[in-house]
């Protein structure tokens, strides 16, 4: 599929096509010029996005370089000795948070998507209302979910208190719409002929979904889940509201009322300190988060390639 190619390949292909086209058919000069300008604009757009990302990575790596060392992952935060400080409790907190998000978001998100795509009657008003809501919820600012989490999960009906699991629940709510939308796209991309063939051979609707539709849509769903989880991993604002603290020296536990920490919260706090040592630490923290993200993403790519199907 064209859209599944890596950026580089796509660029190269587009470039090659443009060259071939210009050599084979001598277009009128002005049309050719327009085509070239359009192509240049596209390249510029891609470069704009990439340069921003590269600048961020390079700047964080340079700024954070003095702090690189094993203590970043083995030690806890320290205000007295910032040079020995690390992110251990925050890293563990973030890993638990993300694990919780995945456990919550995958069954609920995929389930919702299967219902909406395979079972729901799109002509009924309540199903259209659900669809509209899911799309709108995907655009709600994260701080709103933080307030929701504080009012309904930490306090209020659920009354879990300021525990890590409450943070997971809040983040799961935040990214659930994204997962549902991505999973629906993935299910929709499975050709109807596959379903028809399965049903024609006597399979039930559940068997068709279980054996044909789901395996075929796993790559797309995995992409959606990873994108959503990457977003959840980087969120600080809603976590601050539901009780994540920056100074936690012990390893957080999911259901303990002792308190917990998370990477973005600690980075955010370090970045705002007056002393430069802490801003170096914040930059090093950004690099650690990027590494975690890269690991997550490469796992997703592996998963996608593993299950990629051709029809």
């Amino acid at each position: 599929m064209f859209s599944e190619m890596p950026e580089r390949t796509r660029l190269a292909t587009a470039g090659a096509q443009a060259t071939v086209a210009s050599n084979l058919q001598r277009q009128r000069g002005s049309e050719q010029l327009k085509g070239n300008i359009f192509f240049a604009l596209l390249l510029l757009a891609v470069a704009f996005a990439l340069i921003g990302l590269i600048a961020l990575i390079v700047q964080s790596a340079i700024k954070g370089a003095p702090a690189f060392g094993l203590n970043l992952i083995t030690e806890g935060p320290s205000t007295i000795n910032p040079e020995d400080a690390g992110f251990r409790p925050a890293i563990i907190g973030s890993i638990y948070l993300i694990l919780g998000v995945i456990l919550l978001v995958v069954p609920i998100g995929v389930g919702s998507a299967i219902y909406l795509e395979e079972y729901a009657d799109g002509t009924k008003w309540w199903n259209r209302l659900i669809e509209l809501n899911v799309q709108n919820l995907a655009g709600v600012p994260s701080i709103i979910y933080g307030i929701l989490g504080l009012a309904f999960i930490v306090r209020g009906p659920l009354d879990l208190g300021f525990i890590l699991a409450a943070g997971s629940l809040t983040l799961a709510l935040l990214v659930l719409p994204t997962v549902i939308l991505a999973s629906r796209e993935a299910i929709r991309a499975v050709p109807p002929s596959i379903r028809d063939g399965s049903l024609a051979l006597g399979a039930t609707q559940w068997q068709t979904i279980r054996r044909q539709v789901l395996p075929a849509s796993i790559p797309g769903m995995a992409t959606g889940v990873i994108l959503a989880v990457s977003r959840a991993l980087g969120e600080a604002a809603p976590l601050l509201l539901v009780g994540a603290a920056q100074f936690v020296t012990f390893n957080p536990q999911p259901f303990s009322a002792d308190g917990y920490s998370a990477m973005p919260v600690l980075i955010y706090n370090y970045a705002l300190r007056p002393q430069d040592e802490f801003r170096v630490l914040a930059a090093a923290g950004v690099v650690i988060m990027l590494i975690v993200l890269l690991l997550l993403n490469s796992f997703a790519v592996w998963l996608r390639n593993r299950y990629e199907q051709q029809w």
Partner: protein, 314 residues
């Protein structure tokens, strides 16, 4: 294929377990104290509380102290709901917050643990050395028309440059204190200043980049950026006074020197661990204050904090 999926998940969970196990080697408890102390509140005060907590935990490895930064106001909201033991505050508790705590039956004490001098900073190329409170107010008051330094009344020496004000957002205790002290009403400020939110480092960047830049933040931000921005002396009615450790301690840097507080709840004072922590805090605060960029208490202020704590413990 579903088996491989399972293996991948299991491998992930396993590695999680390994991470979680590493470093949970808390030493034996020498003091016998254990338990959890939950602290939240001002991001200005947090580094000091963290430094104290760090030293306290070194002596008492079984005590778990956490410090969050919901801001002074956000912290009081949780504190008055009984959800935290101690609140860090970069200003005194406000009447509405007193009401809130009363409503929920949370009793508390107030301990002054450090001093601060809100420092008004300008670009190093700005020739002005001293401003009166009235002149600072002209720049920052709600309907300020000052767009150029030359429009400020009686400023010496005259300075012709576009004024570019930078300041924190309204969530900040620093914002509350500055607007109250300069404009006479908390929250009253011109609308068209450059709001840097919680990031005082952005004020440093802004003021050092604009010839007519002006901004304000805690003394520790000035100390870390002494060459980059210039601190103004402030004339609060009895001559120009520069912000410094001494003038913040004796309060002569007026009206912008301010005390920093912690508020322990009465409930938490019944707990031996929290009590020991607070005693440790008051006894050791001056040893770490300067190290982490705070203006320490005078010896009178420290003994007053100590007395206050004793009377709180009853």
């Amino acid at each position: 294929m579903s088996k491989k999926w399972l293996v991948a998940v299991a491998a992930g969970a396993l590695s999680m377990g390994i991470v979680a196990c590493g470093g949970s080697d808390s030493g034996s408890d020498a003091s016998g104290l254990s338990g959890t102390i939950r602290i939240d509140g001002s991001s200005t005060v947090a580094p000091l509380t963290e430094a104290i907590a760090e030293e306290f935990q070194a002596d008492n490895p079984d005590v778990k102290v956490t410090v969050g930064t919901s801001g002074t106001g956000g912290g009081f909201e949780k504190f008055c709901a009984g959800e935290t033991d101690i609140n860090d505050a970069s200003r005194a508790i406000e009447p509405e917050e007193v009401e809130l705590c009363k409503k929920d039956g949370v009793d508390y004490g107030e301990l002054r643990i450090a001093n601060d001098a809100l420092t008004v900073v300008v670009n190093p190329n700005n020739p002005v050395k001293c401003m009166t409170v009235e002149q600072v107010k002209q720049v920052w008051e709600p309907d300020s028309k000052v767009t150029n330094w030359s429009q400020i009344d009686g400023l010496q020496p005259p300075f012709d440059s576009e004024a570019a004000p930078y300041g924190p957002g309204s969530d900040s205790g620093t914002f509350d204190f500055f607007t109250e002290a300069i404009n006479g009403e908390e929250g009253a400020i011109r609308k068209d200043y450059n709001d840097v939110g919680e990031d005082d480092n952005a004020t440093v960047t802004g003021v050092s980049g604009a010839e007519g830049g002006i901004g304000y933040f805690g003394y520790s931000f000035y100390i870390e950026n002494e060459g980059t921005v210039k601190a103004l002396e402030i004339d609060g009615g009895s001559g120009c006074v520069a912000p410094s450790v001494e003038t913040a301690q004796d309060g002569s840097y007026t009206p912008l020197s301010r005390p920093l507080y912690i508020y322990p709840s009465a409930e938490s004072l019944k707990d031996e661990t929290t009590k020991a922590f607070l005693e440790f805090y008051v006894d050791n605060v001056n040893d770490v204050a300067e190290q982490v960029g705070f203006v320490p208490l005078t010896s009178e202020q420290q003994s007053k904090a100590s007395d206050d704590l004793t009377s709180l413990e009853g």
